[in-house]
Symmetry: C2
Subunit: 433 residues, 2 copies
């Protein structure tokens, strides 16, 4: 069993530097600088819709990473790229034997993404380190600000850190056109030496991540700080429908084996099945391709991705079984065959009890209301939860919109979140060890 | 009004050469040579599935065209490429003032196409010219064997001949990666001088095309020769569904505006609507793309093609109106919007009564059974029908499969079709003028 942190703040003083505690007024980040930098980061990969196309391993990704590393050096951090191509900016601690407290997020985006997902937590982590330095706050633990590489295409950087077998992902393709192996090399890592990026339980004192909610719960309830209960598990399948390609003019309607028609019926059925069942689970078909893909040819095959998420994967498995039954019926009715292949899975990850209490205490100290909620999105934090006590802080997302150019979090909410992160880091530093 | 041909054969003798008529035994092509050449032509663009990738304006298209022109020259034809890049092989007639009888088809394919569509009618036309020459048969009319360029991507060659405004197609893209303008130049035409390829009503005595049925009607009824009643009209629309791209994990099922779900329901609805209505009409959705197209992003937009075909376009328009109503309902239920844009239209084309009677007489003379049927596929013949009396002959397609590597017509059926074409050409020659 790994230890949980306790929320009770401990008053500590260092030699020659200040140390913070509950009796001091809460610390605050430089909010103006944080929001200004978010605007600067948004220039890398900016698209015509005002969002960003900054998929991992793209030129825009490389440029943004360079920019972040420069800001880290300005903040006095020792910057390195680990062999998995994560960016790590380290600030030393007062007690040399202690493992680092880590905080950070990612700066890669989905295609057509927004300016807040990952970026808020990345630059807030940097801002915390810089604020501590500027306020002469020396922590007991080293502090590592981490920018995980390629979160959006499989949390590759954090998986490498917690030691997932690289054979499971190195040869997968990405939106950049590069495989993950090629991409890691492209942005400065070494895919042949990933083991050197691994951390083991005990190597990390704690991990904290600030992130936008990406849902509308906090906004709807007008609560500035979300304390994450856990991160949903995800399963993805590639679904291949095989029919028979034939001439769209000469093949009567009742003699067709139309793979695209069958795929369409499956998409509708999967949506119905997941909505008919009680719970907060979600199911999404976000991609679909038909072959040969001409207006005058009946599709001979269709390929789609099915994704389901829930805090309870046994519920996901039950729904999937129902969807497979529906696919069987559709296949019999349309003369097509369905094949399902699981292509991705992440287990649900509960956050640490002590970390949740520390976040609540930090928010209370700042006079900010909180609520607990699950995360429907996956995060690097869930990989880090396998190595260390993990906590996550959410700030509100306008209209719950994310993975979109219209993603938005108010500057004041971002500053609130960064202040909670800063004070939570200090409390973790005092409590842990 | 243009004249119809009459079926009654007329006995004519020329000076110094034979001329055929109903009292002679029917003429026959060299069937072995015809089928051998089909196998040779199948080498150009051959793919791993045993079909061909010989889209118009590809290198394989150019190579196949070269090969056909060499065979035409061997058959004693005067060969030229017209400014629209159609290949025309001409054999002189006995009566210099008569316009040519034309016959031919195309040798370009769809992506992943088969070895019979267009190719049978192209090489059968060549075979008829060569057989006439070898049997010292002099026709009254000149005979032109024509290989229309780019049938599969819009019947470009035949449209140029009948004088469609080039502005409507020259800048369209094709599967080759070239625009039609670039493609015409690539294969030896001149897109700036297309008017020179035009023919006017009266310039062509008649047009005959032999083609595989591409459906299973002849095979199912065990009838060797189909006499085409007419070619269906086609309408195509690009359908754009606009929803809202959002995060697949954090957006509850009841707050989504999922464009791919709406598109899927539309595909199912269109299929149901076209099947619930009496008639031989067909509707096909052969392409679908979702944006942004990631497994973890709800699709913000989806684009698909809808195609409908029937001999009666007013029926197509009625069905389309019903589909638009269904799209409205789906849009309201899913929070999405549908937009329909017509991108392609060809009018139905009836074949000429006299030509149908001539084909029937030629088949009867050869002892071959016939039936009348519509063509669900579009053909260059429907463009030529605007210039001259037009007739089409079908031979059976195994299992009705076309636009597929598994496309097949039996060698004996192909020879039957070529023999009917040969004798029909002779009857047209005798009747027309």
């Amino acid at each position: 069993m790994r230890a949980s942190f306790i929320a009770a703040p401990v008053w500590l003083t260092g030699a020659g530097t200040r140390a913070a505690g509950a009796d001091h007024p809460p610390l605050r980040v430089n909010g103006e600088r944080l929001n200004r930098r978010l605007g600067e980061l948004a220039q890398f990969g900016r698209n015509a819709d005002g969002g960003i196309d900054r998929v991992a391993y793209s030129d825009a990704d490389v440029a943004a990473r360079q920019w972040v590393m420069e800001r880290m050096r300005e903040a006095g951090l020792d910057v390195r790229i680990d062999t998995a191509a994560n960016i790590v900016g380290r600030r030393g601690g007062r007690e040399a034997q202690l493992p680092p407290i880590m905080t950070g997020s990612h700066i890669d985006s989905v295609p057509g993404g927004g300016n807040y997902d990952g970026q808020v937590g990345s630059l807030a982590a940097l801002e915390c380190a810089q604020s501590l330095a500027e306020q002469d706050m020396a922590l007991r633990h080293p502090l590592e600000v981490i920018i995980f590489q390629n979160e959006e295409n499989g949390k590759v950087g954090s998986k490498a850190i917690r030691g997932q077998d690289p054979a499971t992902y190195l040869d997968l393709g990405t939106h950049s056109g590069r495989t993950i192996r090629e991409g890691i090399r492209f942005i400065g890592g070494d895919p042949d030496r990933l083991a050197e990026a691994m951390r083991r339980p005990g190597d990390v004192a704690a991990f904290l991540e600030l992130h936008i909610e990406q849902g509308a719960v906090l906004e709807t309830r007008d609560i500035p700080i979300g304390i994450v209960e856990g991160i949903v598990g995800i399963k993805r399948w590639q679904v291949t429908v095989t029919g028979f390609a034939n001439h769209a003019g000469t093949t009567p309607m009742d003699q067709r084996q139309d793979a695209l028609l069958a795929a369409a019926r499956f998409i509708d059925a999967a949506n119905r099945i997941v909505r008919e069942t009680q719970g907060r689970q979600v199911a999404t078909v976000g991609t679909l391709a038909a072959e040969p893909g001409a207006p005058n040819v009946i599709a001979g095959s269709a390929t789609l991705t099915l994704e389901m998420r829930d805090l309870d994967l046994t519920r996901v498995d039950r729904l999937f079984a129902t969807m497979q039954d529906a696919a069987g019926d559709i296949g019999r009715a349309t003369g097509t065959q369905f094949d399902f292949r699981e292509i991705y899975r992440t287990l649900p990850a509960r956050t640490d009890n002590g970390m949740r209490e520390i976040i609540a205490a930090a928010a209370r100290e700042l006079g900010l209301g909180t609520m607990s909620l699950p995360s429907g999105a996956g995060h690097d934090a869930q990989e880090m939860a396998q190595l260390a006590p993990m906590g996550m802080i959410f700030v509100p997302s306008a209209r719950g919109i994310s993975h979109s150019p219209r993603e938005f979090s108010a500057p004041a909410d971002i500053v609130n979140g960064a202040n909670v992160l800063l004070n939570a880091l200090v409390r973790v530093d005092m409590a842990g060890g």
